[in-house]
Symmetry: C2
Subunit: 245 residues, 2 copies
């Protein structure tokens, strides 16, 4: 349920939910279902990111770049392990929690297989940033235990600075690269939104929590506004990278 921001919790300024812990919050079966969905999506997102980064490591122009991408993939796997262990600790089977998100995430990766090293880097950067924005949007509605886990696994794995540095250097060396990568980033965002909308339509409990717990069903307009905020943040990041989004 959406509650007014509580001045008693200044340490978590964006907290719109009272600072309940998991034991208290999960007594509500709809909340519990929404968090299982959220963590299932996060876990499979990390596992899929591991696979994608390991695959993109093959496109690396040299061994040092290959090792850098493999390092990020291994970090994603550690995050996957943390979320899996957390699911198991609250008596949920990680595989069952992940199942509903395999289709949309695999489809996203299938439709956005990078054709070269730079496209792979832009995808790692954009994909990570969009996921982080989404989970930060939702973190304020979570109980303290779940929020702690989510913020921990969103910790930067070094993707951002590595990708930004390499992409900027490539655009500097050949400005035409910028136009191609700007189109690519636009396609990534489009496919991400289209799969996210598919998930929203399919997963009632999750969608309800996304918009702050409207009792029955959910407010599509509010979800639209959340997607707008994420798109705006993406546009700003692309501009910082030297790409017009």
């Amino acid at each position: 349920m959406q509650t007014p921001q509580s001045p008693e919790h200044p340490a978590v300024p964006d907290a719109t939910a009272p600072d309940r812990d998991w034991a208290a919050a999960s007594a509500d079966p709809r909340y519990r279902a929404a968090v299982i969905d959220l963590l299932g999506a996060l876990a499979y997102g990390e596992l899929a990111a591991f696979e994608r980064l390991a695959e993109d490591a093959k496109l690396a122009p040299g061994l040092a770049d290959k090792a850098a991408l493999a390092r990020m993939a291994a970090a994603e796997f550690q995050h996957f392990e943390q979320v899996s262990e957390h699911l198991a600790s609250i008596a949920e089977e990680p595989v069952t929690a992940m199942e509903p998100f395999v289709g949309p995430l695999d489809e996203f990766h299938r439709l956005t297989a990078p054709s070269d090293w730079l496209e792979g880097l832009v995808k790692a950067y954009v994909g990570d940033a969009i996921a982080a924005d989404f989970y930060r949007e939702i973190a304020s509605r979570l109980d303290a235990d779940t929020r702690g886990l989510v913020l921990r696994v969103l910790d930067d794995t070094g993707h951002a600075s590595f990708a930004v540095e390499k992409v900027r250097a490539a655009i500097e060396a050949d400005p035409r690269v910028g136009g191609r990568l700007a189109l690519w980033a636009r396609r990534l965002m489009g496919e991400a939104l289209s799969q996210a909308q598919r998930v929203v339509a399919d997963r009632d409990a999750l969608s309800t929590m996304l918009v702050g717990g409207v009792a029955d069903g959910f407010d599509l307009a509010e979800i639209g506004r959340m997607f707008s905020r994420i798109t705006e943040a993406h546009t700003k990041r692309m501009a910082a990278l030297g790409l017009s989004a």
Copy 2:
């Protein structure tokens, strides 16, 4: 240099070299060159194993198996990091040390791309075991510091028991699978030996150390005997797996 086994070092029963540390041993430039080669091959072997396991994770029949293979891949990457850090600590550029082994290892993996999940598991098991046999053969000729590192990164990452269990179950369910996988294991061993011979022919310092430091050049017959021992161990492992090698 090959020395008789020293009864003063019962803790390392297979040590044929005096228990020197790296500082003392690396004063000999041929020894230093051989160890750089060995660690370069080990580092790239781990990085390539990471990529191969991450790739084979796609063949997994379900999410739990996929996660298990990804876990092994992440463990291989941690080993790669340890060897890389060790190379850096002895003032060697890991990328330079790995370069000579990229060709043979990539070629091995290109020629032995598994066509299904079970072939991938047999390859992970066989490949790991052969590499471990090889490094254990050579460990006794290493200084104490390098030996410690090598034995540490050969620590079982759980490949063996996972692969053995799955392959045995598959053969039990359909005994014809055993014939196909036995052929596959034979092919893996053949390609591994052929790439190993290529490395032996190319890398003088390494080959000299392999046979115990004959001063000039190396004894091909002794290398042949080492390969025989590794092949015999492989045959025994295949029999234990229910495959005739």
